[in-house]
Each structure stands twice: as C-alpha cells, then as structure tokens.
Symmetry: C2
Subunit: 350 residues, 2 copies
C-alpha cells in the first residue's frame, strides 16, 4: 500500500506524522505494510521551490495508491499572485490533475460531542450524513474574462459548464453510496433557475432507474441550506455540484460544532486523496495543540475506500470513539470535567 504524504502548512506538519503513527500501529496489528513518501505542497512548497504544487509532488501522488493531505495556506502567502497562492495554485490544480471529481464529506456527530453544536442537542446528536460534492467542474474551472466598458467600468463574464458525463459519474457515486448506507439520496440543485441544474436533474432521474432500491429526492439549494439547519437528520446521502457543495459542506460541518473531528475523501479514476476538512490553523501551529482526530479518521476512510481494509478502518474508528468515551479531549473540543491532551498525547491514546 503506497501512500503519498503532503503535510503542507500550519498544523499540517504536526497532524500528518500523528496519523502516520496510527497507520503503522494498524499495520503492525493487522500485518499490513504501508509505504509512505512525503512531498511538498502549499506555502511550504512555494518557499522551497517557488511553486505551491511542484511537478515532483504530482509525480509522487501519481505513483501512489492514495494521498494523505494535511492543510495548505496561511497569512504568509495570502498576498502572492492568485496562481501562486496555496489554495488556488495548489488545491484546485491538484484536484484537476488527479481527476478527483468527487469530494465525500461525512458529517457525523458523536453523542459525546453533540453538546458543542450550535444546534440543539436532539437535532444533531448521532447525526450521520454523507455529502458528495462534484469537485472538478462548474464555475470553479470555467473560463473567466474581464472587459473594459465605455462607462469606465468593467464587466466580468465567467462560465459555468457541466457535461452529461461529468454529472453521471458523481451522481452514480451518490446512488452507490446511498445503497451502502441508508438507501436515501438527496440531489441538490437550483433547477428553477439554472440550465445546468436541469441537466443535472435529468441525469439524476435517468440514473434513478438503475437504483430502484434507493429513495430519491430533489431539493433546491436554498431550501437545502434551510433544511440542514432545521432538521439535518432527514438526510442520508446528498449529492451536488461544486459551488453549492462548497457552501453546503462547510455549513453542514459547522452543525457538528467540532470541525476538528471531520475527515474527507476526494475520489476520481485513479489515486484518491484524503484530508481533514479543517484548515491549516496557523495561529496554533507548532504548539502541540492541534486535534489529530480528523486526520486519523481520514486514514480510516482511506483504508476502507481505497484499500478495502474494512476491519482496519473500523479499528481506527473504534479507537477514536474510545478515547472520546474515556473523556480525552484536545483544546478545540474541550468541555468542563474532561481531560485535556495535546496532539501527540491524543494520538498516544488512540
């Protein structure tokens, strides 16, 4: 099992090594060998090579079965030209280059942590939703241009494009994931306004024929944002296009009240990428304060999805549940009466 490690910036270089410790612990227990190779990305790569996504890093990723990413970005690189900034210059091209067309974000709320949610306890305790976001199409990758106008102002025109095939592959994944879970798929669009949403809805309707066991719903994106706040447990698997997914996945993750717990996977034809959904948190970097659990749970997703190691994945998830039940907490999820641990000590506990 070959894994590319991209620690990146901020707390990235702290949490990735901790996740690797867990990986090797699993390897020992289950007699698996994981080979890891580390490469540069983000601000760290820019500082070292002048570019946030060096060709060499892409090579390391392509030669691996899976990529484990920490986080990129920080104030130090915020004023670079857009194409050199960690987010625009590394994340988006990495997704495109590796063909990662589907971003999977499970939002699960552990009963032990549900109190930390801004929502009322009953609305979120035990929540288990999977949001699938299309990741390589739409406004993100459309043509963009600026024109000067006679009135002295400017006009920006940018395009939102989707093809049938781009919609099919991500929606199919949605149906397949729904089959493996609660057999409910909610497709999110803005079909009352957007033509791309109408194409999207047509594709969903057609694919639905192949998955008669999955209960399908369509919901408009504005209503979806409301329903996620009102009653998130009504959802099982959700699938949507890139920009709507950007907004809705972040919204949904906030419902948990503990973003430091949430993993993610980005899938495509080849190598897959796994990362915590939180950012690089430069304010707490280098102080052994970061919560390593989201990265550790990302490793569990990797074992399950890319390597088909269900038992190994479950072992990690159980271990994380266990430390929470034993009242261990990092600072971000600390509650009165619990035991506060640092990044390394939390990993020791897992």
């Amino acid at each position: 099992y070959k894994i590319a490690l991209l620690p990146g910036d901020g707390i990235g270089p702290e949490i990735i090594p901790q996740a690797v410790r867990v990986l090797h612990a699993v390897g020992q227990r289950f007699d698996r060998e994981f080979q890891c190779e580390t490469a540069l990305i983000g601000g760290a790569a820019y500082d070292a090579t002048g570019h946030p996504l060096p060709e060499e890093t892409l090579e390391v990723c392509r030669n691996s079965d899976a990529v484990l990413l920490g986080a990129v970005g920080g104030p130090k690189w915020d004023n670079l030209e857009p194409h050199l900034r960690p987010e625009r210059g590394a994340l988006l091209p990495l997704r495109k280059q590796l063909g990662l067309f589907a971003n999977l974000r499970p939002v699960m709320v552990n009963y032990a942590l549900a109190d930390a949610s801004p929502l009322k306890y009953d609305l979120v305790a035990g929540l288990d939703v999977l949001i699938i976001r299309e990741l390589t199409g739409g406004l993100y990758f459309g043509e963009k241009r600026r024109e000067d106008l006679p009135d002295g102002g400017q006009k920006v025109v940018e395009t939102l494009e989707y093809t049938t095939q781009e919609v099919v592959r991500v929606v199919r994944l949605g149906f397949e994931m729904a089959q493996k879970r609660g057999k409910k798929l909610t497709s999110v669009d803005k079909a009352n306004v957007l033509e791309s949403s109408r194409l999207w809805r047509e594709v969903v309707e057609e694919l639905a024929q192949e998955y008669p066991d999955v209960e399908l719903n369509h919901i408009l994106v504005d209503n979806c944002a409301m329903q996620l706040v009102r009653n998130p447990k009504q959802f099982d698997v959700m699938v949507t296009e890139n920009m709507f997914g950007d907004i809705l996945t972040d919204l949904a993750s906030q419902l948990s009240g503990s973003i430091g717990m949430l993993p993610s996977a980005s899938l495509g034809g080849g190598v897959a990428l796994y990362e915590p959904i939180h950012g690089s948190a430069p304010d707490i970097a280098g102080q052994n304060l970061a919560n390593p659990l989201a990265t550790i749970l990302s490793v569990a997703m990797m074992l399950r999805i890319t390597f088909n190691l269900e038992e190994e994945a479950t072992a990690i998830e159980r271990a994380v549940d266990g430390v929470l039940q034993q009242d261990y907490r990092t600072g971000d999820i600390m509650q009165p009466g619990k035991i506060r641990l640092g990044t390394v000590e939390m990993t020791d506990a897992v």
Copy 2:
C-alpha cells in the same frame, strides 16, 4: 401614497387583505391616505390570462409608489413550462422589469420566539442582521445554452456576469444601510475562486473610502455559511451577489425558527416591492391558519423605506411586538401555554 397589491397564490389572497387592514388603521390614526390597486400574478394570473405576469400587472406596479406582494406558486402550476411557472415566469421578470436590484432581508429574532430556533437560545435571541442580496444580475440572468456532444451526451454552458456599475449600486446601499445601523458591513464573496468576486471585492474596497465610519469585513461564502450558524450575532449588515444571497438569506431566515415573521424589501431606481419571505403554503391556504405578521411587517418596511413614514412604521412594529408579548400566536409559532389565533384574529389583535 399609491400601492399595488399582488396577492398571488396559496395564502397570498388571505394575508394581503389583512396587511391592508393594518395599513388603513395606520392611515386613520396618522391621517394618511393609502390608495390600493389589486392585480394578478403567479398561478392566479396564469389561470385567468394564460401568463403568470400579465402586462397589465406590470402597468399597475409602474403606476404605483410601492408594491405589496403575497406569494406565488403551488403544485397546480409546477408542471408548466419553465417560462410559464409562477417563480420563473413572474418573480424573475418582475424583478428585472422593475429594476429591483437589491433585496433587503432583515433577520430579527424576538426574545419571545427565540426558543423556536433550531439554534441554542443565546446564539439567536435578539438577533438583528440585515442581508442585502443583489437581485438582477449574476447566474440568474446570464445566457444559458445546451450543446449536443459527440459522445451522445450534452453540455450546458451558462454565464455569470457582473459589471462595475451593478456592483457599485448594491454595495453602496450596503454601506448606507450600515451607516444607519451598527456601522458594520460584511461583504460576502468567493474571491479565492471567482473573477466576478474579485471585481466585487475591488468595488467594495474603493467604496469603503467614502464610508470611513463603517467597519468593513470580507468573508468567503463558504465560511459565511459556517459563521451564520456558529455565531450569527457577529454580523450587522451583509451584502452579496444574487446566488450566494439566495442561499444565505434562506439559511439566515431559518435561524429564527419563525419564518412566518420575516419581511423583505426589494429596491431599485423606481417603485419598490415588499413581501413576506415565506412561500405560498398551499397546504394551509384558505383555512385562516396563515401567519399575517411577516406581511404586516413588510408594510412597516414599506412605510419606512418608500414613504419615509418612520413613526407609522414603528407603530406597526410595536403593535406586532405587543401581540407577541400578550402571548398571541398563530399555529406556525405556537408554543405551550400561549393563545392560538387565526389569520384574521391575529390581525385584529395587531
């Protein structure tokens, strides 16, 4: 004061007459004369004339100082061709034709109703945020086309356009509203990905020079969706483009837990339009169950913004506060121990 009334569909024809009763009560008390003319819109207009937005309705609006709209749409008209459906065929063209480029949605949470929010009480009780949404630009009104592809599939291309001038006018309104309120403006964009957002941000930065007394913040739309759930009280006035505004205003309104209370205004160069933010609620139509308060509060906004009748507007808002304090509730905001009233009786109380 000339007002066009567009009751529309569902509960629209129930709530508009109630708001008009309040309007006339205010007229009597403050010695003002309000002239109202009613016109058809939405499914009701389609049924009567074959089009959801008859030219005559536009004329009535143009000949008025303000428009009071109920709600449009319902299952009966959902399967019409898009351009004949109440939402696409009436709401969007009405906005465009009347040049209503700014949609104002105050989200206020009365202490008496804060318990109904899905969020914890302290996060929302007393909330007072104003979201301004650009309403006649962006993806909503861009070109849309479909192409057949050689692989048998299709491709949709749609465009998102904004000009400097379109951004200037709505952002300026944001600064002006912020000056009149808490002097804090948050501009929401996706400047790390969209070129239109970069133009947006440039305009905001430039206008900020003219409003040195307003504290300005930029926030990315994904982060904004998170912050609205995490800590909505951090915001005062927010301004954003059309599609982001569609999603964020609905999200924000849900925070209140009582959508039946929220008014809105849509402003442009000429006549302005006022409406409750809730929909036509066909399931409860015709049963004297609808909450008239959002429409009544929309009348207050009209008096204040279009007619500059501050005292009259405040009188209505105080009356609404009063009925809530006297424990009167319609079904949608009913709580144990309160007194349940119908649409007409609630208006009597106001």
